[in-house]
């Protein structure tokens, strides 16, 4: 095996993918050529350094930003603030609340009419 052929096997040797005869030939090539052996050692050291260095930084929390983008692009269909749901359930749901408000308005109108504060428009009599 020439030095050039051995260099082509650096990655496979690093990953321990060489079969037995290839591994023996590769080891023999390194044993015969001290420069090649140093090259392989330095190659492995570089990859080990890259492996150790990877992922040394802390990752940010992406969720709030993702939710904000989805809320904006879906025009509130997803990740909306759900104001009414947060208020509670039952009587505070939007439809019952609207009916209650209508009832209150009707009562106020009737009371004010009976007291003579406002008068019924002629067209409604």
């Amino acid at each position: 095996m020439t030095s050039e052929q051995a260099r082509e096997l650096f990655s496979s040797a690093f990953e321990r993918e060489l079969d037995e005869p290839q591994a023996q030939e590769f080891a023999a090539a390194l044993a015969q050529d001290a420069e090649l052996a140093r090259e392989y050692e330095a190659f492995v050291a570089t990859l080990e350094l890259a492996r150790r260095a990877a992922g040394a930084r802390a990752e940010p929390n992406l969720l709030p930003g993702v939710q904000q983008r989805l809320r904006a692009r879906s025009r509130g269909r997803f990740y909306g603030d759900r104001f009414s749901e947060r208020l509670g359930s039952g009587l505070l749901q939007p439809l019952p609340l609207a009916l209650m408000m209508l009832g209150l308005l009707a009562l106020a109108w009737l009371a004010l009419t009976a007291l003579g504060v406002i008068s019924v428009p002629p067209g409604l009599r």
């Binding site: 990859l47 890259a50 930084r57 983008r69 989805l70």
Partner: protein
């Protein structure tokens, strides 16, 4: 695909927001780290990572389940990274900034070497900087392959699914990428870039 992932996927296709939150929490680190290594800039990486998850939310029905969810996410992230690199290069060209200078300025702290002890701090810091510069000077495909295999320890089958390249091609391109990284790193260490 494992049962847990299948259940999560079912909830995701129903646009269950809690399920989507879980997906983001589970996979945000892997997506962000890949993008940081590809783009070399923390703010760009964060922006693109958020876009990746928005794309996932929109196109979850397109996931057929023939690979792991994480592999699919890697594929989407890699495509987004390629598009952003093209966009940034185009913008740099429009601003008449030389491409070499552009690559240098993008070579931010994508990764930082961790020294084994205090005595090695200075030496390790310098080696980390050289490694970073060597890595940033590689082509984007080489950075992707190194990142997936040597930093995230993915299998060749997973890399095939992410890149769409046959396994033999992945191996030969990865070897070229490793040799290029090593040679550029050595040149920087010797002070002969």
């Amino acid at each position: 695909m494992v049962d847990d992932e299948r259940r999560l996927l079912e909830r995701l296709t129903r646009r269950d927001e809690a399920a989507f939150n879980e997906l983001v929490r589970r996979h945000q680190a892997q997506v962000y780290r890949l993008l940081l290594r590809m783009l070399g800039d923390a703010a760009e990486a964060e922006d693109v990572a958020q876009e990746v998850f928005v794309s996932v939310f929109k196109s979850i029905e397109g996931f057929r389940g023939d690979s792991a969810l994480s592999t699919w996410l890697y594929r989407i992230a890699a495509n987004h990274a390629k598009n952003r690199i093209k966009y940034l290069a185009r913008r740099a060209r429009d601003a008449e900034q030389p491409l070499d200078e552009f690559a240098e300025t993008r070579a931010a702290a994508a990764f930082t070497a961790r020294p084994d002890g205090p005595d090695q701090l200075v030496e390790s810091h310098q080696a980390g900087g050289h490694l970073q510069s060597a890595y940033a000077s590689l082509e984007s495909e080489q950075r992707l392959l190194l990142s997936l295999r040597d930093m995230d320890n993915l299998s060749y089958e997973e890399i095939r699914q992410i890149t769409g390249l046959p396994i033999g091609t992945v191996k030969s391109k990865l070897h070229r990428a490793r040799m290029a990284l090593h040679e550029r790193f050595l040149a920087l260490q010797r002070g002969t870039p």
